[in-house]
């Protein structure tokens, strides 16, 4: 069994990284929310005040998968996330995102669980 206090630094780092989930604070939640709203307001040339949790990304904002990908890249950089796109894709097949609110919740799960996202379904 692996132990945090044995092995080299890299092993310890990886062990810690794989064991400890990011904690979603109120601050993180607000930050993600603000980023998502600002992103879609700019990309879709929409009035930010008109975007709600219930806003449908495709029907109401004319959004697309490239925007989704761009948003993922923004959060990957911002939070230094270790997650493969295909992991998100596999998760999204079982948990499709249609609204802004659902998208925010998924981004929070991605930040929290990173490459272990699919384990949520086990």
């Amino acid at each position: 069994m692996q132990h945090l206090f044995f092995g080299n630094i890299e092993e310890k780092y990886n062990f810690a990284k794989n064991t400890i989930m990011a904690k979603i604070t109120e601050n993180t939640r607000n930050e993600v929310r603000e980023t998502v709203f600002a992103f879609f307001a700019e990309e879709c040339e929409a009035d930010k005040s008109q975007i709600k949790d219930s806003t449908n990304i495709i029907k109401d904002l004319d959004g697309d998968s490239l925007m989704f990908l761009e948003l993922i890249e923004i959060f990957k950089k911002k939070y230094n996330l270790d997650i493969e796109l295909k992991t998100i894709g596999k998760y999204a097949v079982k948990h499709p995102v249609e609204t802004i609110g659902q998208l925010i919740e998924m981004q929070l799960l991605i930040i929290e669980h990173e490459n272990r996202l699919l384990e949520l379904d086990k």
């Binding site: 490239l66 989704f68 990908l69 890249e73 295909k86």
Partner: protein, 302 residues
């Protein structure tokens, strides 16, 4: 020098019409209508019935290509007329014809002729009509090759748009199987492009041979504005290079990611998509260090 000037990039197909540029640039409509009349006279009169809202003509593959060409030439001509001179240009797939026209290498009519003859040669030589293309986002090239290999699919990767965005072409049934498998593998997006020709694959080698008869007898000149090859990222700087590029473009895979990076490395800081949609504009966001992409009408100098 090139670094002070934008790059004009030309799409091959129209997916939608963003908005009417004539609203802010009245000169656009005059140029567009003039090209449309010329195009209708040398190909299909039906082009004159075009309307971006009521009759967008994007369902028909050939008419779509004509309109993409006409639209691209119009955007670029309006910019040139207003004093915006590109430092470099590139054509995405069949967008090469508009780039060559603006570069002064071929006439507008020759561009129309190339589209017509290429399409005709493809239809004459393809053994059947069951072909297609698809776009996939979110998988790596390795993932895609594994799906193709493991499922024994007769498909080729024909373009790399960005690190995680690819275009495939081949048999339409295999395209549909690939789309299902790609989604299972975690692709964020995988869908058919709605075309029935496997552009940039070796299925079109015979068509390219037939098409070359038109290309090698056409009036072609060296470009006065640099045009970058999407096939090998070199400058297309001579008549021979142009002819070779136009013919090979039919049946050879290309690399848009490398093309845009090459233009960036040569000092291009601003890119603009000469067309009605924003597909290249959107894609550029995933190419690191590829400069700033702006809407073509924002470059217009009143």
């Amino acid at each position: 020098m090139a670094e002070d000037r934008p790059a004009f990039v030309f799409p091959a197909f129209i997916s939608d019409y963003r908005e009417d540029p004539a609203r802010d640039i009245p000169a656009f409509n005059d140029v567009f209508q003039s090209f449309l009349k010329t195009a209708a006279a040398c190909t299909y009169e039906e082009l004159l019935s075009f309307n971006p809202v009521s009759n967008p003509l994007i369902e028909n593959e050939l008419l779509n290509q004509y309109l993409s060409y006409i639209y691209g030439c119009s955007c670029a001509r309006v910019l040139l007329n207003s004093g915006v001179i590109p430092g470099m240009m590139a054509g995405y797939s069949m967008g090469i014809y508009a780039a060559l026209f603006i570069a002064g290498s071929i006439s507008f009519e020759t561009g129309m002729l190339f589209i017509q003859k290429a399409y005709g040669a493809i239809r004459n030589t393809l053994p059947h009509h069951h072909y297609g293309m698809c776009g996939v986002i979110g998988l790596s090239e390795k993932d895609i090759r594994e799906i193709v290999l493991n499922s024994n699919l007769n498909l080729m990767i024909v373009n790399r748009n960005s690190e995680f965005s690819f275009i495939l072409a081949g048999d339409s049934f295999h395209i549909n199987v690939f789309i299902l498998k790609a989604r299972e593998e975690g692709a964020l997006h995988a869908r058919s492009l709605g075309v029935t020709i496997p552009y940039h694959t070796n299925n079109l080698t015979e068509a390219a041979d037939e098409f070359s008869e038109t290309v090698f007898t056409a009036d072609v000149h060296s470009p006065v504005i640099p045009v970058i090859s999407v096939l090998n990222q070199r400058r297309i700087d001579s008549v021979d290079c142009i002819r070779e590029e136009v013919v090979k473009n039919i049946h050879t895979p290309f690399n848009w990611l490398a093309t845009q990076k090459e233009m960036f490395s040569q000092g291009i800081g601003i890119f603009t998509e000469c067309g009605p949609s924003m597909a290249l504009y959107k894609n550029s966001k995933f190419i690191s260090g590829s400069g700033k992409f702006v809407k073509w009408d924002s470059l217009f100098k009143k």
